[in-house]
């Protein structure tokens, strides 16, 4: 097996780890590609800087990378359709080069696009939360910094953990972030931030919120920011319901409120439940100062979904209100990018079309030796543990297909007789991988060329960069100081 993995985040490394440990003696080769020059995906570019323990998983990835059967190629974007072009200095590799050089393919490409709000288009007053996360992690597309010096009120639309992470970054005392992996330019702006209040706006109620208790507890514990107490009426209907353990614990944290009493702190925040944005009126552009915009909000109530009555949907009550705000951040989840692989994307689920680890056509036919794991396959849900479990399960499908079984479990292998995807169903070529590539070890010629021209980052390169980032950080009393592509290039050349 010569496996190309598209995307080098946790699901790629966990899948590779499981495949290699299930086949300790076999000559299999796994090449992980990522358009980012650094490996590990969201572990480096998504996990909040003040959650460094979550990043301990990279030690396992480092171990996996020591297996000579695994190679990593960073700064390479692979596409069948147009490349996303999100990172200007990427080397582009067409899918045809992968298909002719590899026997197996695993899409571990994640969900890289933010879901936008139809009533809140991006503008100077409205940005996706992902742009903020990319800003404070110094993502290689280098998004512009938010105008925090001119903003006192921020509205975050969406009630998931990304919302709480962004709120915490904006509210916490900057000194809290000093020891962590927050780039100096970000720290500098956070120190000059004029943010006073963050409203977290949720379309439905506390039971429907997607955030989890740990992150909520962290916000409640901020020493310099207090939460506006919730209306007790919010909790009345819950008395009559059988709540799960998770829900009960979450409601207790919400009812208890923030450690610091409301109004006793320089910064404040609120959870505005049952509010759905309907529009954002921008101030006239003649003003030289950044004056607030006006967010219009529809008030909502819960009604059971007509088709799935156990799911509660938001319905408008007819009431509306307005909120004066200087920055709206939409935090509504993520979807896979259809651009690089248009034929594989399922618009209904917003991720790739996958069945039990295999990429399938719209009619459910599997492609031989083509798989997907992690968020690309599941959608943007689940923390590291869930992604790990999925990656392990997909790895077992891959090995079972190759060897006939894994332990005592037989999965349904795609045999040569299985009806393969109909070319007419896909919008580009059928995925005909090469059963007998010329070379079972080397990457495609273009990759060898790219390596020679210092356009591609290997895992060994990454470990040098990693050590240098930690060294720079140590001089500043912090976990690491991130390097830019230019700095990385300069360091590797000298």
């Amino acid at each position: 097996m010569k496996l190309a993995v598209i995307g080098g985040g946790p699901s790629a490394f966990y899948a590779a780890s499981r495949i290699l440990s299930l086949l300790p003696k076999q000559s299999v080769n796994i090449h992980i590609y990522d358009r980012l020059w650094a490996p590990h995906g969201l572990v480096r570019y998504g996990v909040a800087p003040d959650h460094p323990e979550v990043k301990n998983c990279v030690h396992k990835f480092d171990e996996v990378a020591m297996d000579p059967r695994l190679r990593f190629f960073g700064n390479v974007e692979i596409s069948a359709g147009r490349p996303s072009g999100m990172i200007p200095h990427n080397m582009h590799l067409p899918m045809s080069s992968i298909l002719s050089n590899y026997t197996h393919l695993l899409f571990a490409s994640g969900c890289t696009l933010p879901t936008l709000h139809p009533a809140l288009p991006p503008s100077s007053y409205c940005m996706p939360a992902l742009s903020l996360v990319h800003w404070y992690t110094q993502y290689p597309s280098l998004p512009p910094s938010p105008p925090l010096e001119d903003v006192s009120h921020v509205s975050i639309i969406g009630a998931g953990n990304v919302s709480l992470d962004v709120a915490r970054m904006l509210l916490c005392p900057p000194s809290h972030l000093d020891p962590y992996d927050v780039p100096q330019p970000v720290m500098s702006l956070l120190t000059r931030s004029a943010v006073k209040h963050v409203s977290i706006i949720a379309r439905r109620g506390p039971l429907e919120a997607a955030f989890t208790t740990k992150e909520l507890r962290e916000l409640m514990s901020l020493p310099n920011a207090s939460m506006q107490p919730l209306d007790p009426a919010l909790f009345e209907p819950l008395q009559y319901m059988k709540l799960s353990r998770q829900q009960t614990r979450m409601m207790d944290v919400l009812k208890k409120g923030s450690k610091s009493p409301w109004g006793s702190t320089p910064r404040t925040w609120s959870l505005d439940f049952f509010r759905a944005p309907t529009g954002l009126a921008l101030p006239p552009s003649e003003s030289t100062r950044r004056t607030p915009a006006e967010l219009t909000l529809a008030h909502t109530k819960l009604i059971p979904d007509p088709e799935q009555p156990s799911i509660m949907r938001a319905a408008s009550t007819g009431e509306t209100s307005r909120l004066s705000t200087s920055l709206v951040v939409t935090s509504l989840g993520f979807r896979a990018d259809p651009t690089p692989f248009p034929g594989l994307y399922d618009p209904a689920s917003a991720h790739l079309r996958v069945n039990a680890g295999r990429i399938v056509t719209a009619s459910g036919k599997a492609f031989k030796n083509v798989y997907s794991s992690g968020w690309a396959a599941m959608g943007a849900r689940g923390v590291l543990a869930a992604t790990m479990m999925d990656a392990y399960a997909v790895a077992e499908v891959i090995v079972s297909d190759l060897m006939g079984s894994v332990g005592d479990v037989k999965t349904t292998a795609v045999t040569p007789d299985t009806k393969l995807g109909d070319a007419a169903e896909m919008r580009e070529e059928v995925w005909n991988l090469n059963e007998k590539p010329v070379d079972m070890k080397q990457p495609p010629e273009e990759v060898l060329q790219g390596l020679a021209e210092n356009k591609i980052i290997t895992y060994a390169d990454w470990k040098k960069i990693d050590a240098e980032e930690v060294k720079k950080g140590k001089a500043l009393g912090k976990e690491r100081e991130r390097m830019t592509w230019d700095e990385v290039n300069y360091m590797l050349k000298t």
């Binding site: 301990n56 998983c57 990304v162 955030f211 989890t212 680890g357 689940g382 923390v383 543990a385 399960a393």
Partner: protein, 132 residues
């Protein structure tokens, strides 16, 4: 704390006995460890397939184990941070704990730690996680 080499194997017959079972209840291995050793460290010392992604820092739920009621009751109550992680664990039960937080005492001699349902059940059950 590092999960590598943290556990010293006691002389056979002198240590605290722990049985590791798979999700179906079959014995994987019976091992011995010392007072103060945690279940995750012990599993790694004896090559038992218990993951510890965050390496014992209560930042994930991958070392989730299921204990018998009588041993679960002996242990001190989980703290908020452990309970927050357990909330997210796949196949959570009333006697679930994070392995990295279960420290051995002599009273736990003979305890069974059961690993939760195998990963491939995710495809069979069609389970999808709901939080991120």
């Amino acid at each position: 704390a590092s999960r590598h080499g943290g556990v010293v194997r006691p002389e056979p017959g002198t240590g605290i006995k722990i049985h590791f079972n798979d999700s179906k209840g079959n014995l994987i291995k019976t091992v011995e460890a010392n007072e103060g050793d945690d279940i995750l460290g012990i599993a790694h010392e004896y090559d038992i397939d218990l993951e510890g992604a965050c390496e014992g820092s209560v930042a994930c739920s991958t070392c989730h184990v299921i204990l018998p009621q009588e041993y679960y009751d002996i242990l001190p109550e989980p703290e908020d941070d452990e309970n927050d992680m357990l909330d997210m664990a796949f196949g959570l039960t009333d006697t679930s704990r994070l392995g990295c937080q279960v420290k051995l005492t002599k009273e736990l001699d003979g305890m069974t730690a059961t690993l939760p349902s195998a990963t491939r059940n995710m495809f069979v059950d069609g389970k999808k996680p709901t939080h991120h």
